[in-house]
């Protein structure tokens, strides 16, 4: 799963959003790393709709322009959750080996007699 797909799905977990709101939410949740161009966003939204990861929740007309709201499907929710688990497992491999050995060192210290 690409980073853009991941953060689009993550943006929609809290409820349906329209295109511009997805851009802003993905930007916030990724710490500014994912800044989707509009063409890229709608290309991804169309593809993800075809794949059944998201679906159109409703359509509105705002300031004379149509606007679709997208929501994540159960399939999309499961996919992003699985990806998050994979990322967490991959992160744990590093974090477990690079964590400061404070507690382990204290626990291993032999007790002083007396």
């Amino acid at each position: 799963m690409s980073e853009a797909t991941y953060f689009i799905l993550a943006a929609l977990l809290d409820g349906p959003l329209h295109g511009y709101a997805v851009i802003k939410r993905a930007q916030e949740q990724s710490g500014g790393r994912v800044n989707l161009a509009v063409g890229t966003l709608y290309g991804a939204l169309d593809r993800m709709t075809e794949e059944g990861l998201i679906e159109v929740d409703r359509e509105e007309v705002v300031a004379g322009r149509p606007r679709r709201y997208f929501r994540v499907t159960d399939s999309g929710r499961g996919a992003v959750r699985q990806e998050a688990g994979r990322l967490a497992a991959a992160a744990a491999v590093v974090m477990e080996r690079t964590a400061p050995p404070k507690r382990a060192a204290r626990g291993a210290r032999p007790a002083v007699a007396g």
Binding site: G19, V38, G39, Y42, G43, R86, A89
Partner: protein, 342 residues
């Protein structure tokens, strides 16, 4: 007046300039997609960059890229890869063949004969409109005519020494037929059209292309009359190449731009979709060249065959590699707790 328009006196003009620009960029999308979602994309674009005085280059490039991919993806569901690739390959052959014949018409040293000219134009029209049965019959007639001419007269000026050139070795006259491009191009068009005609209309929408593609043979004719080519692989050398007028010198960069654009479009589409149709099209387009290479190698085993226009070969190889890589089965996912594969 909307709230945003009250910000400054120039705001409406700025917005309209940006909006007009983005509307042009949206032309890259298929018309039907533009009708349904163009307004939404435009609204999001203007909402994303409310204070921009000039259009964003990043957004513009993204729109062009996404529009092109939307067009490509639209064909994926409609037409099977083999049929669309076959059609695109023979369509490109028909375009360049028409351009070459029209280029002959513009020059004085080798005028095409009227039956061949008419047959070529008819093949082009039939292929463009998706009348594959008519295209097959006409192309077969044109192939027979050019085959007869090549056997009687030799390749004349219409051979592919500009593509595969053996600069130090003269080509023997008895292999002239094999080194003629016209017959092979027409035979490939005829056979491929016949295959598509047999496939019939029951297996999907009619294969056809926009009339805008006719710009290519017209430009090809112009370049061909000056001893150059627009698309790679067709380079009929002229014994008397006219001097290019100064006003047209800038146009000589156009073939390079067209070739690079074709390369990038095909690579981008194949990378994004993993679909083999562009590889198939390039392969079909290169069949006449392959026959020429074999004929030249057989006629002169010691000849070093050089390819002056490497792009199609490079493109074909790259497309095949990308297609195979994209289609390769993905490795199983790593179990939780184990490091990912890469």
């Amino acid at each position: 007046m909307r709230n945003g328009d009250r910000m400054t006196g120039n705001e409406p003009e700025r917005k309209s300039l940006v909006e007009r620009w983005y509307r042009v960029m949206l032309l890259g999308y298929p018309a039907r997609y533009r009708e349904r979602h163009g307004g939404e994309l435009l609204g999001t674009l203007l909402e994303s960059h409310p204070s921009r005085r000039l259009p964003s280059p990043r957004e513009s490039a993204s729109l062009l890229d996404a529009g092109m991919l939307t067009r490509f993806r639209g064909r994926l569901d409609q037409v099977p890869a083999w049929a669309d690739g076959l059609y695109l390959g023979l369509f490109l052959l028909a375009l360049t063949r028409t351009g070459t014949v029209l280029g002959d018409l513009l020059t004085t040293h080798q005028q095409p004969r009227l039956p061949l000219l008419l047959a070529t134009l008819l093949v082009m029209a039939a292929v463009l409109l998706g009348r594959m049965g008519l295209a097959a019959a006409t192309a077969a007639a044109a192939a027979a005519l050019t085959t007869y001419q090549a056997l009687q007269l030799g390749p004349g000026t219409d051979f592919m020494a500009g593509v595969f050139s053996s600069r130090l070795v003269a080509v023997p006259s008895d292999s002239g037929f094999w080194l003629s491009t016209g017959p092979w191009q027409f035979w490939v068009i005829a056979i491929a059209s016949a295959v598509l005609a047999v496939r019939g209309r029951d297996h999907g929408p009619r294969l056809r292309r926009s009339a805008w593609w006719l710009v290519i043979p017209l430009l090809e004719a112009l370049f061909s009359s000056y001893g150059r080519t627009l698309l790679p692989t067709i380079a009929p050398p002229r014994p008397l190449t006219p001097v290019v007028p100064g006003s047209l010198l800038a146009l000589l960069l156009l073939p390079m731009a067209v070739s690079i654009a074709l390369l990038l479009f095909a690579l981008r589409a194949t990378t994004a979709t993993g679909d083999p149709r562009w590889a198939i099209a390039t392969g079909v387009y290169l069949i006449p060249i392959g026959i020429y290479a074999v004929a030249l190698a057989a006629a002169r085993p010691g000849a070093i065959v050089t390819l002056d226009y490497e792009l199609p070969i490079v493109l074909l190889a790259a497309l095949i590699v990308i297609t195979l890589r994209r289609r390769a089965p993905r490795p199983p996912r790593a179990a939780p707790g184990t490091p990912p594969g890469r």
